[in-house]
């Protein structure tokens, strides 16, 4: 098997010998490189395990965590050879820049970006394998209001498109659940270091819980400084904190009372299939996996499986992704007609004894829709 994998990896560098070309275009450098690294690993793992003995050429293009870098990288990736699809960025801002290019080349993009509007703009080439933020934010809000029974909420986000999009959705969802946050701040720049001014305002507001939607770096700083500030209130984060590289920054005790929404929690190994996948990921990359890696793995593997069953062209793949149901490692994927294939979300919490979280809530289907 090792020999086989090596042969496949070698084949990836020889375009003429490959059966298909599926470039990876992701933020490998820049402030979203942690998330980008996870999704790249997931995509690479799927491509290395392509079913039916397929040999796929999969060069990696770095977007640099910028919209212009993303557009340039995707254009370069798609113009050099005839791609059947591309595995692309988790970063919503970059996705917005990539969408016209996908439409121009008529190539499906396989993404895990949560930004709601990317599948709401009528572009038929966008396929998302993590829940739309519009859905997963419902799980975030419902857990705080219905399970934790909190009403005095401090709602915080960073200034990225991801942060701003999630902030607006959480505002809307809390409203539908009959509560209005007692404190709101969506002005946290990703390079902010000192969070004490923010925490001072949270304390002054009388909030009894923090709902935080942010990329990894400010989120870990807010969570860490909250724990050392003596402000003893729970915090429910978005999924970035579930990444093992983020939890590694904390002592287990510092994570007590910290929760997060996540599309899946492979590091918790909740099912035999996820355990087998997580163990293989750990062996391959010497890293604990996260939900981003698993979502991207399932997305790419769905495309590869369809290709192994006879799909030959980008247009055929687009049609098949829109129509077919696929049982992935994390969940069952089925498009809602707009390119959203993932409709499950977990809530995980840490108990202060380990960096591995426990799943405390699961939301799926209609539970992720608030009227």
């Amino acid at each position: 098997m090792i020999v086989g994998l090596c042969l496949m990896a070698g084949a990836s560098n020889v375009a003429s010998a490959a059966d298909a070309y599926l470039p990876i275009v992701m933020p490998i450098t820049g402030f979203l490189s942690v998330e980008g690294g996870s999704q790249r690993n997931g995509a690479v793992m799927a491509l290395e395990q392509a079913p039916g003995g397929m040999k796929v050429d999969f060069p990696v293009f770095d977007t640099g965590t910028s919209a212009t870098g993303a557009a340039t990288a995707l254009d370069k990736a798609l113009s050099s050879q005839k791609a059947i699809a591309a595995a692309v960025t988790v970063f919503g801002t970059e996705m917005v820049a990539m969408m016209p290019i996908a439409a121009e080349y008529k190539v499906p993009l396989l993404t895990i970006s949560g930004l709601a509007k990317i599948t709401e703009s009528g572009n038929p080439y966008i396929f998302r394998f993590l829940p739309n933020d519009r859905e997963i934010k419902v799980a975030h809000a419902r857990y705080i209001v219905e399970v934790m029974k909190k009403k005095k909420i401090a709602l915080i986000s960073d200034t990225t498109a991801y942060g701003q999009g999630g902030f607006a959705l959480l505002q809307e969802d809390f409203g539908k659940l009959g509560t209005t946050p007692v404190f709101e701040d969506n002005s946290i720049a990703p390079d902010t270091k000192d969070m004490s001014p923010l925490l001072a305002k949270v304390k002054a507001s009388g909030a009894d819980v923090i709902a935080l939607h942010s990329v990894a770096t400010p989120m870990t700083l807010i969570t860490k400084q909250l724990k050392s500030s003596g402000l003893n209130i729970p915090i429910v984060n978005s999924s970035s904190i579930v990444e093992p590289t983020a939890t590694a920054l904390f002592e287990p005790a510092e994570l007590a009372g910290v929760c997060a929404e996540t599309p899946s929690a492979p590091e918790a190994r909740p099912t035999p299939a996820i355990k087998a996948w997580a163990d293989a990921y750990l062996k391959r990359f010497n890293l604990e996996p996260d939900g981003l890696a698993l979502g991207q793995y399932d997305g790419v593997m769905m495309a590869l499986t369809l290709m192994a069953h006879g799909v030959k062209t980008p247009e055929d793949l687009r049609a098949a992704l829109q129509k077919e149901t696929y049982q992935g490692v994390a969940m069952t994927y089925k498009s809602n007609g707009h390119g959203d294939l993932s409709h499950d979300a977990d809530i995980v919490c840490w108990d202060g004894t380990s960096r591995i979280p426990k799943i405390v809530g699961h939301y799926a289907g209609e539970q992720l829709i608030l009227k």
């Binding site: 942690v34 980008g36 002005s187 720049a189 000192d194 004490s196 001014p197 304390k203 870990t220 050392s228």
Partner: protein
């Protein structure tokens, strides 16, 4: 949390920024050139601290001298690569070469350590202490103490020792210093080393609470530059005061208004300094370098 608490937080962060600015101004004084790799050298110090922390479970306070020594050598290496080959070129050339050096360092960090943030061990231990109604982390208190000790030490060296006099002479006029027998190149190399050692110590102090990651040095270079402009170009006391003022300004305005307003106002104030007091608070008369 009161205004006093916020000011204490600002001073604690400002102490680390002061070390960054101090190292920055050392190099400015010795070479008349801005070192825009300085923030990345702060990150390098943070990575050294993370590495040492993984090798030995000792408090960081015991490893700081080793961090400083390693970074001293790194500083001399940076001088050999980015400064000495360009010593007779205009200051802008050195500015560009240090900028490029910083980008090389960022990518080196990425390759060696990956994109994820890392945390160094605490200076002494984790936790907070209460001083009346004021709460401050042990790490912040330790940072204040280390910064105060190093700032005092550099003052003694500059004001009271022969080495300090040679450093100041070389900073004022390299050719004249050489004419009177000072080995200016060795002095400049040592200054690069000392400035980088201070940056490394600052990185080790910041890397516990604020983490270290490949691109984390970029804003620190900007803060150091701003601190030196506000405090007075070439003034060591000014660099320390400038760093403190910037930190307190950011913390207090962020708390009472917002982060966005604090950042915008900070840069606007810098613009006003350029217009109305380009020599800064304790600035020298050589304003062209600003």
């Amino acid at each position: 949390m009161t205004f006093v608490q916020l000011a204490v937080n600002g001073v604690a962060l400002g102490a680390a920024y002061a070390l960054v600015a101090l190292g920055f101004v050392f190099i400015v004084n010795a070479t008349s050139a801005v070192n825009f790799a300085h923030g990345d050298l702060v990150m390098a110090g943070g990575y050294v601290a993370v590495g040492l922390g993984s090798l030995a479970t000792l408090p960081m306070i015991l490893m700081l001298p080793l961090v400083a020594a390693i970074m001293f050598v790194v500083g001399i290496a940076v001088a050999l690569v980015a400064y000495f080959p360009l010593i007779d070129r205009p200051p802008a050339t050195v500015f560009i070469s240090t900028l490029l050096c910083g980008i090389v360092l960022q990518n080196l960090f990425l390759v060696l350590f990956g994109p994820q943030a890392r945390a160094a061990p605490p200076l002494i231990k984790s936790g907070t202490v209460h001083l009346g109604a004021i709460e401050i982390s042990v790490q912040a208190l330790g940072t204040l103490a280390v910064a105060a000790a190093l700032i005092g030490l550099q003052y003694l060296i500059f004001a009271r020792t022969q080495i300090g006099r040679r450093l100041r002479a070389t900073a004022q006029d390299r050719q004249m210093a050489q004419a009177i027998g000072i080995r200016a190149s060795a002095v400049i190399a040592c200054t690069f080393g000392a400035g980088t050692a201070l940056a490394g110590v600052a990185g080790a102090l910041l890397a516990n609470q604020f983490f270290v990651y490949p691109t984390g040095g970029i804003p620190l270079s900007v803060y150091a530059y701003m601190a030196v402009v506000v405090g007075g170009w070439g003034s060591i006391a000014g660099a320390v005061l400038g760093a403190m003022l910037i930190s307190i300004f950011q913390v207090v305005v962020s708390a009472y208004v917002s982060y966005a307003v604090a950042t915008g106002l900070l840069y606007f104030v810098l613009l006003l300094v350029f217009f109305f007091r380009p020599q800064g608070i304790f600035g020298e008369l050589v304003q062209r370098r600003v």
